[in-house]
């Protein structure tokens, strides 16, 4: 495993993603998903919205970094706002 060059932050990053996936799987078992059509005019389930959130967050972080909007941790706040919006309206 040495060649994979693990670091604590990246390990935490992947653990968070794994935890999210597990949480959503459990949620899907407990409360079965029903697709709905949101502002994007496409059918989405809870899992789809998670994917849209994660992918969007990655781009928000990159834009934040590229345009030097501010200190990087604040980008996560923007992501949270974005996530809330996605789960509410998409």
């Amino acid at each position: 495993m040495a060649w994979m060059a693990w670091t604590t932050p990246t390990a935490i990053f992947f653990l968070v993603i794994a935890a999210l996936l597990i949480t959503f799987t459990i949620l899907a078992i407990k409360f079965p998903e029903t697709p709905r059509v949101g502002i994007l005019r496409i059918e989405t389930t809870r899992g789809d919205r998670l994917f849209i959130t994660l992918l969007g967050s990655a781009f928000i972080n990159l834009i934040w970094l590229g345009l030097e909007v501010g200190p990087q941790p604040y980008a996560l706040l923007a992501c949270l706002v974005y996530a809330a919006a996605v789960f509410r309206w998409v």
Binding site: A2, W3, M4, T25, A28, I29, G47, D48, F51
Partner: protein
């Protein structure tokens, strides 16, 4: 659901059916036929001319290639081919390539068949996401994976082996095989499965005895695509090999020696890489058109 099975081209035209010419005249008057022929003729000429040129070069000596310009070999020679087919360091490349391509095709089909069946018949937790995730791997650029693969296979001691290349090519071939097979399996009515189970078939026996023959053409098409993409790929196979499993495509680069490029041998090696592909096409020619639709028309 549109039934595509009767539309397979070359599956023999049904007697008494309107023939090609009649359909064409039905759509437009006579000049149309000639127009199509001209278009196809030009297009095929465009496709074949560069290949002809390669063949032409491979049959010339280097002095002729560099000395004079001719549309066909004046001084026909097979020396370039003889060199490749007798020199082990050359022909071993073809053997290496074929070994990992066949390995890859077998592995891809073996794992893709049950998975495609599951996707085409059942809905289960996360099936759509899983399917999408598989497809993204087909779309992922090999360049992104070249370096980590190099590190991965070095660390587990598989570097420079055929199986390493075969496994690496699974990255894009397994998703593709699942995608194609799923399309073909969707066309098989579910009632067949149910009847077989009622008749007391177990799942493995049903799958091998009844289901596999029904989607034989789909399996052929999937195998064709796995073969094709594994055979043509260079970046990963070159990165993961040095000596023992070096593919022909990588060996070809060594014609660039100190004395310039050995054009004749390079062209001959190129022509020989086209041969396996041409053979495969010939065997699956009746399924090509449907195959390219990936069972999804």
């Amino acid at each position: 659901m549109t039934d595509t099975s009767i539309q397979a081209p070359g599956a023999g035209s049904i007697p008494g059916r309107v023939t090609e010419a009649k359909v064409n005249t039905a759509r437009r008057k006579t000049p149309r036929i000639n127009g199509s022929a001209v278009v196809m003729g030009l297009y095929l000429l465009f496709l074949l001319l560069p290949i002809y040129w390669l063949l032409n070069m491979s049959l010339k000596t280097n002095t002729e290639i560099l000395g004079s310009f001719s549309l066909w070999p004046r001084d026909l020679t097979l020396a370039n081919y003889v060199k490749i087919l007798t020199d082990e360091s050359w022909y071993i490349g073809y053997v290496n390539s074929l070994i990992y391509v066949v390995m890859n095709t077998v592995i891809s089909l073996a794992v893709a068949l049950p998975a495609a069946y599951a996707f085409s018949r059942y809905s289960f937790m996360g099936d759509k996401h899983l399917f999408f995730w598989l497809l993204t791997n087909r779309m992922a650029p090999p360049a992104v994976f070249a370096l980590p693969f190099f590190q991965l296979y070095s660390s587990i001691g598989l570097f420079d082996t055929h199986i390493a290349v075969a496994l690496a090519h699974c990255l894009f071939n397994v998703p593709l095989a699942v995608w194609i097979l799923e399309g073909f399996m969707r066309g098989v009515p579910k009632e067949i499965d149910e009847t077989a189970y009622l008749d007391g078939y177990s799942f493995p026996r049903f799958f091998i005895k009844i289901f596999t023959p029904l989607i034989a053409s789909g399996i052929g098409v999937a195998a064709f695509f796995c073969f094709m993409f594994s055979w043509v790929e260079l970046l990963l196979s070159r990165t993961l090999t040095t000596v023992d499993a070096k593919p022909i495509a990588a060996i070809m680069t060594r014609t660039q020696g100190a004395a310039g490029i050995d054009w004749g041998v390079l062209a001959a090696a190129g022509v020989l890489t086209i041969v396996p592909g041409a053979l495969v096409i010939y065997f699956v020619r009746n399924y090509i058109a449907k195959g390219f639709a990936l069972g999804r028309v």
